[in-house]
Symmetry: C2
Subunit: 192 residues, 2 copies
DNA sequence: TTTGTACATGTACAAACGTACACGAAAGGT
DNA sequence: ACCTTTCGTGTACGTTTGTACATGTACAAA
């Protein structure tokens, strides 16, 4: 009854251990923000001893960076799913509106993304990770709308997600569809 | 040579003192984020003794709240200027694009606003202050575009400002104008 | 002048923090 | 069997933190 269940990965598993810590940190960021992160809280959440967090990461800043990059990787992953859904959609505006509404239902997701945006605005080394979502979304849309329009749409969607952070009632699908089809209408529709 | 220059307001000026502290805190938030705030840093920035910050504010949370509400008040003030410029504009899209570009030049402004958004998403009591900017912008546009379109435009602008936080090259005025006029085109143009 | 009240501040303290590091345990080569 | 290297952890230390509070100071009323 001494070495009871350690959370994510048992001992002697370097990479798995590291990942467990990163995931716990990411979860903690979703819950109480980057500023709430401490070595001790992360260690407790990952169910590893305090020493582990300093063993795998030179710094707390290093840990935070790893956690935020993990979050960025998750958003990239969400982007891939988005790409699949969008590829077989005839009505781009409606499909995008639908997907955005789906995203609105998961506030933690864009709260952490926003946390990443803010952290990156202070620390330039985080910018590549922070750009992953926006640029990925842009690249995904650009073939069908042209680059400039794709950027505008991405900005609009990010704005909508931001809006949802502080309003009980997010923008409804109808409004989204109207706005998105208006934006899409401006595209050249033939990239080059 | 004992009581040399105190920063914002000399002693025995309760409301002025409080304001000096709040302003120093707001400046500090712009510089290093809400998480960087400590009683000591604020006191040093406002050039007041440590005791003052605990005298005027029961809590550090209380101080943060006051600072964020000050920031919200500033954004409201910027909104009033915006309203003046917009009232006498014939081409709404172009005028809005121009104003947005002007805002892009002052990153600190929307960085703090974003800081407020994020803080409000964690602490509901900050939501009214956080909504000031978005809802104010919406109310400002609604008479000319209808409510739904106004919301869409506000979301778009917030998204553009967010984008600028992590990209060296913000969206250019031409792109903004195109997108904005497309969005405006969807409005009923006669609010009931 | 005395007294009362609001304003103001320096200091002190317990808690929480990041981090270093000595030490132990496991694994692999010989 | 032994040794070497990597992996892992508990503990301890110096700092910074939020906050309390005893003490003082200015001003108005009496």
């Amino acid at each position: 009854m001494s070495d009871a269940g350690r959370g994510a990965s048992s001992r002697r598993d370097p990479s798995g251990r590291r990942r467990a810590i990163v995931e716990a940190a990411a979860g903690l960021i979703a819950g109480e923000g980057v500023s709430g992160l401490t070595h001790r809280k992360v260690a407790a959440a990952a169910d590893v001893p305090l020493g582990s967090t300093t063993y795998y990461f030179t710094d707390l800043a290093d840990l935070v960076q790893a956690a935020l990059e993990h979050i960025a990787a998750l958003s990239r992953q969400g982007l891939d799913e988005m790409a699949r859904d969008l590829r077989q959609a005839t009505d781009l505006a409606a499909a995008l509106a639908e997907l955005t509404t789906a995203y609105l239902a998961a506030p933690q997701r864009h709260r952490t993304q926003d946390e990443l945006y803010l952290a990156a605005s202070h620390r330039p080394e985080l910018r590549p990770a922070a750009r992953l979502w926006f640029d990925g979304l842009t690249d995904l849309l650009a073939p069908r709308t042209g680059h400039a329009t794709a950027q505008a749409i991405a900005a609009f969607i990010d704005g909508v997600l931001l809006h949802a952070l502080i309003h009980d009632q997010p923008l409804d699908t109808a409004t989204l569809t109207t706005a998105l089809s208006a934006l899409i209408g401006t595209g050249d529709h033939a990239p080059r």
